[in-house]
Symmetry: C2
Subunit: 282 residues, 2 copies
DNA sequence: CAGTGGTCTAGACCACTGG
DNA sequence: CAGTGGTCTAGACCACTGC
């Protein structure tokens, strides 16, 4: 059996509850006895459901189940990992809380996707000032540039690459109702995004992150943004059809796949005269 | 017994699990049978743990337990509400996830407070660009103005008041390392914040929201922010020691107490040349 | 109707805290 | 050491989905 905390140590007690070690981390380790002798400090224990969560996560990132597909039922996973349904449930609960999977009662648990997620454009927090929500529909995209290049120092640092490594770089404008509103620069690791074209960026219907899933097998699960107020340079002002004294929101986003691996750096300039960046604090 | 979903209807089955209705919402209602006849649509059922959560929340907002105090143990609450510990646990889990309550293993569950919360200044997302986190310490506060006045139309709408209702209004500057960085206007409902003084705002050690808890019994539990890029007017530029062409982050925040009652409108102008607004997306 | 996630209970034991 | 939250199991039943 595989570390039901610190106890165990002896052989299998029964054949039902915690049984038969099966490729689990933290298998039985008779030496660790919590406190007392053995000298090991901070044995880095983790509860069973965390280990299960880790295993499911591993399957997710290895692509055992594709975005949008159902993962095995709780009962199946419980049998597979030799734990109770409740333990699997708690593991999945956390994955669902992190938006990695989606539960649908009566149907199953599904790998989350940027494509048909109820909340499309999860990472875009810019909303029109009119409360009409997103009736204005998705933005019109106009790709200005898309090419392969070498990473500068700051881009390399953000993407955990080395300076000079290959990256894809794209520049585009998003317009709402014909009004240019967002000017974006995107950097992607050249290795994973080899072959990305301006046409892909321009023509794909739906979130760009959904295209990344389908065409490149890269799922963004989390992102961090640093926001500032800036003034555009002349080129930027021209592209957005504004004067150089129009203040803009500078949004620098780093998006991560599984395991906190950064896979995108995006620098956006948002025009906020008819839109605003919305954030909820709790 | 009190609505263990749609079933029940008959008298008490046993005397332990679900027993004796006791002032709970959604008591037994023999007419509702989920699907089928009876014609009632959307009976608005809620699981037991949600009802328990509601009851605990009610006790929180009625001040049965003060911020920082421990609430009764899970076993006590289970006995009080005549449910299993697991059900109470799930209710508290949600309250903890919403930052209304804080669990500490081995000690108890405590009413969350802005005062000694591990994450002080929960609602302030402005960080120095240097990764040194918050070594720079809390901001120096300089209160420019604090007075009673009548609510304008937009302030009234944000605070769910009527135009002309009494509000407290304050204006202040927060500086980091002697550099004026945030210019804030704060509006508070006059009723709840009667007697607020500039001295209180200036001299209280710790988060202003902690002062609101202690001096006025108002706990902010949630907030929404709308962010824009703007240029300051002459007065604002003067107060922040900047030129009128320095772009600023405009952060309009509405903070809510329990039950989504708005209790504060705050309009901040953030200087973002050495700081940035940090946001995490997931 | 079977299968899935969702709720509820009960009991055992573990880990942490403090007296 | 007793008391608290945290984990794990097992089993029952409910609510929803689709065949």
């Amino acid at each position: 059996m595989w570390q039901t905390r610190c106890r165990n140590a002896a052989a299998e007690p029964f054949t039902h509850p915690p049984t038969t070690m099966s490729s689990l981390p933290f298998a039985a380790d008779p030496s660790a006895t919590s406190s007392g002798a053995a000298g090991a400090n901070t044995p880095a224990f983790s509860p069973l459901y965390q280990q299960i969560k880790g295993l499911i996560l591993q399957s997710l990132q290895q692509g055992e189940w594709k975005p949008g597909e159902a993962i095995p039922s709780e009962m199946e996973l419980a049998a597979r990992f030799r734990v109770s349904q409740g333990t699997v449930r708690k593991a999945i609960d956390e994955l669902a809380a992190e938006n990695l999977v989606m539960r649908r009662q009566g149907k199953g648990t599904f790998v989350a996707t940027h494509a048909e997620q109820h909340v499309q454009y999860r990472f875009l927090k810019l909303l029109p000032d009119t409360g009409d929500a997103r009736v204005e529909g998705p933005a019109q995209r106009s790709v200005i540039d898309c090419r392969r290049m070498r990473a500068s120092a700051d881009v390399a640092r953000a993407l955990a690459l080395r300076s000079g490594d290959a990256v894809m770089q794209a520049k585009r404008i998003l317009s709402f109702g014909g009004v240019p509103t967002i000017l974006e620069d995107i950097w992607l690791p050249g290795q994973a995004f080899k072959g990305l074209t301006a046409e892909q960026l321009a023509n794909y219907q739906g979130p760009t992150y959904a295209m990344f899933e389908i065409d490149f097998g890269v799922r963004m699960v989390r992102a961090e943004e640093k926001i500032r107020a800036v003034l555009p340079d002349e080129e930027q002002a021209g592209l957005l059809h504004i004067t150089p004294v129009t203040p803009l929101l500078s949004v620098e986003r780093v998006a991560y796949t599984y395991n906190d691996v950064p896979m995108e750096l995006r620098r956006g300039l948002y025009l906020t005269d008819t839109h605003h960046y919305r954030n909820e604090l709790s």
